[in-house]
């Protein structure tokens, strides 16, 4: 529904059967209805039971977010949907590989920033460095802005609720 209400960023986590086509169903739901995906990650989290976890960062009004969650929950291979922004608090992390290229001076400068912002050096050549940086999306943004890299590869947001509450399948 179109309303004038403000759009908000939500982190939604989804537990799904790890089967072919499941990611296409989730993405198709967003693209087919014109919803945004700001970030999306997916990986198997329970091999024994064949379950994957999808982390989606999206933005929308309250009504649109409710609709997205209801549509996700309706998909046959979807077990559970949790909106960490609403049901929080939650921990969110992202990982990035950041390549900096340049002369000695430039690289030393980057190493200093990395040291101060807790980025890890994972590859070092005379004319290029690669850093691994983990943190909130904002922390990554800040690091990237400072080192002015040639190339960035970001993994997307992974998130998990704080405390004993967990997103687990019902049975089986």
């Amino acid at each position: 529904m179109r309303t004038n209400e403000e759009e908000r960023r939500h982190t939604i986590v989804v537990l799904v059967d790890n089967e072919p086509g499941v990611l296409a169903r989730v993405i198709g739901l967003f693209s087919g209805r014109g919803y945004n995906i700001d970030s999306l990650t997916v990986a198997e989290v329970d091999k024994a039971r064949g379950l994957s976890r999808i982390n989606i960062v999206t933005s929308g009004t309250r009504v649109v977010i409710e609709q997205i969650k209801a549509l996700l929950a309706k998909l046959v291979p979807v077990h559970k949907v949790q909106d960490l922004t609403v049901e929080g608090p939650a921990v969110e992390r992202e990982l990035a590989l950041v390549k900096v290229v340049g002369d000695r001076e430039r690289l030393i400068q980057a190493l200093r920033i990395a040291d101060f912002m807790h980025a890890r050096l994972v590859d070092s050549r005379p004319d290029s460095l690669i850093f691994e940086v983990t943190g909130t999306s904002d922390e990554l943004d800040a690091f990237i802005a400072l080192v002015e890299p040639l190339e960035v590869s970001r993994a997307g947001v992974v998130a998990i609720a704080r405390g004993p509450k967990a997103l687990l399948p019902d049975q089986g």
């Binding site: 529904m1 296409a24 609709q67 209801a70 309706k74 998909l75 046959v76 559970k80």
Partner: protein, 594 residues
């Protein structure tokens, strides 16, 4: 292999035999299909058994519509079988139609062998990719050991929760190789548990509102029909017990008896004045199995602005989608209506019927407007007269009506009165021209003794007229009435209203002679051109024991009223061509609506 030997030696079955056995165990009686290279193993097994009857259609789109007709008139799952590539792509319109109108369908599609998938093989199409957005769920079977379970799951998903179409894509090597059989108990859908039981606290809240409401209305859709005849009986009991008025959507017609005085008629774009005004003015709306479609709500900010809203639906994503409601109830309509009725009866002493007197007086005033009136003067047949006579002449029969899409569909919805559910089959959500005739085939096969009418338009009928051949092959005495205005009437009406009467491509030039067309298929062709010819032609059609096409030549320029123009609210309804009343010119926002 005969059916009996299928059952005994399940260890030695081929994939195709497993599929047919699974269909038999699901109680399938009829399959609508069309053969091709990728499904020949399946056809070979079907040929050698006699539990399941295969109906050969003449186009795969029609197979799905026929299965929809079967499903919606019986409450069972409709089954379709088509080949790979073009066979599968031809089903897309039917699948989308079934998805929009929540119709349970299992569609089996052939596929190239697994090792050739992705090679652009002959008649290969990415069927699961193409049908993902137009099915409730779909499967590509890649391992023989998954085959039987997936077929059973497909039936379970199609019929449970909010029903819908499910595609199972079957590579040819999977059909031909050996495969183990498992029964329906093997279904293992770990994350799929549609909620059926309503939250009783919410039901209590709804009844509390109902007991206090001064101007309540029930707004009921096809979901109640999908929930089954028992749900419709409960609905009727509840509405009668409360004394409140009820309106039905296009898909809901028949869920409540049209002849009952509490029924206000259909609502929405071409609904009655009283239904739309009551929706606008109510203080409590009880929406059950209806989805606040834009054809029903009109302009959203003008939709029933003063009411509290209760919404009962099996599909949580239908709630708060278009209209935010006060009391959402997720549940099956039958179980929810039962709980509502229980609760209402428990609190019957709090119910004061007198409080609705003023509301009914107001409704009586709206009814006096007589918004479905039309004038049958002169010799030319008014399309409304044709529908009215058809209804009057079939009232004592066991009658089913299918339609196509356009003006004739709306006139049929307005003037043909249904007292029972599952008798009215129309393409509501997708608005698919070409639905009516193949759907009638499915209905007539499910109800061989019933009178099956297809009310169509000259443009719509031509979209699937090849199915006359199917109707002839299976001797189905379907009576098709083409309201022939030589226009795509509904398109012409919109052009007259919104596009300066420029009739761009809405004139049906070079139409066939429908009488000769019928005769070419070996069917009966009849024609009525004046009002005196109408009754005799209807009688002759009803008496025929073969398919009949009746070419009803109607008044060409007639328009459907009432009409709420796109982007207008319920109280801005236009009643007749003369009605230029207090209406705003149609807004730009309204013009972009379909």
């Amino acid at each position: 292999m005969p059916a009996s030997s299928l059952a005994t030696d399940t260890a030695q079955l081929t994939g195709a035999q497993v599929i047919v056995k699974a269909l038999q165990d699901q109680g399938v009686e009829l399959i609508f299909g069309y053969p091709g290279g990728a499904v020949l193993p399946l056809y070979d097994v079907l040929f050698q058994q006699d539990k399941i009857r295969h109906i050969l259609v003449r186009h795969e789109q029609a197979a799905v519509h026929a299965a929809e007709g079967y499903a919606r008139s019986t409450g069972k799952v409709g089954v379709v079988l088509v080949t790979s590539g073009p066979g599968a792509t031809n089903t897309v319109t039917g699948l989308t139609d079934a998805l929009m109108d929540s119709t349970p369908i299992v569609c089996l599609t052939g596929q190239v062998p697994t090792h050739m998938i992705g090679n652009d093989a002959f008649q290969e199409a990415d069927t699961v990719g193409i049908t993902r957005p137009c099915t409730k769920h779909n499967y590509l079977v890649k391992r023989p050991e998954d085959l039987a379970r997936i077929i059973h799951e497909a039936f379970h998903v199609a019929r449970s929760g909010r029903p819908g179409p499910v595609v199972v894509d079957l590579p040819k090597n999977i059909q031909m190789g050996k495969a183990p059989y498992v029964g329906p108990e093997a279904v293992r859908l770990r994350g799929y548990h549609p909620r059926r039981e309503p939250d009783l606290a919410r039901v209590e809240e709804a009844i509390e509102l109902l007991l206090r409401a001064q101007r309540p209305i029930f707004y009921v859709g096809g979901g109640v029909i999908n929930a089954g005849p028992a749900a419709c009986v409960l609905l009727t009991e509840l509405v009668r017990a409360t004394g409140a008025p009820i309106t039905l959507t296009l898909m809901g017609l028949g869920a409540y008896p049209a002849s009952d005085p509490q029924f206000l008629g259909m609502l929405g774009m071409h609904g009655t004045y009283e239904a739309n005004m009551a929706m606008y003015s109510c203080d409590l709306m009880l929406a059950i199995g209806a989805r606040f479609d834009d054809r029903v709500t009109g302009r959203l900010d003008g939709f029933s602005p003063h009411s509290k809203k209760v919404h009962v639906d099996i599909d949580p994503s239908s709630i708060n989608k278009n209209v935010v409601v006060d009391v959402p109830i997720v549940g099956d309509a039958e179980l929810t209506l039962l709980a509502m009725l229980d609760c209402f009866r428990r609190r019957a002493n709090e119910h004061d019927p007198e409080r609705l007197t003023a509301w009914w007086q107001q409704i009586a005033k709206w009814r006096e407007v007589d918004s479905l009136r039309f004038r049958q003067d002169g010799k030319a047949i008014k399309p409304q007269t044709a529908i009215k006579r058809l209804w009057e002449k079939t009232r004592d029969r066991d009658v089913y009506v299918t339609t196509d899409v356009g003006q004739h569909q709306m006139w049929a919805a307005q003037h043909f009165k249904f007292d029972k559910p599952m008798r009215w089959l129309t393409s509501g959500g997708l608005g698919t021209m070409g639905f009516g005739f193949p759907a009638a085939i499915g209905v007539q096969l499910a109800h061989p003794k019933a009178t099956v009418l297809c009310i169509s338009g000259d443009a719509s009928f031509v979209m699937n007229m090849q199915e006359m051949s199917t109707a002839m092959q299976y001797r189905l005495p379907i009576k098709t009435f083409i309201l022939n205005n030589q226009y795509m009437g509904m398109v012409r009406q919109w052009q007259d209203f919104f596009h300066g009467s420029r009739h761009a491509e809405s004139y049906m030039d070079a139409l066939p002679d429908f009488v000769k067309l019928a005769e070419a298929f070996g069917a009966v062709g009849l024609r009525a051109t004046t009002i005196d010819e109408l009754d005799p032609v209807i009688d002759a059609a009803l008496a025929a024991d073969r398919p009949v096409i009746v070419d009803v030549v109607v008044e060409r320029m007639e328009n459907v009223y009432p009409m709420i123009p796109g982007g207008a609210a319920h109280n801005e309804i236009k009643l007749s061509p003369e009605d230029n009343g207090p209406h705003e010119p149609i807004s730009e926002e309204g013009m972009v609506l379909v």
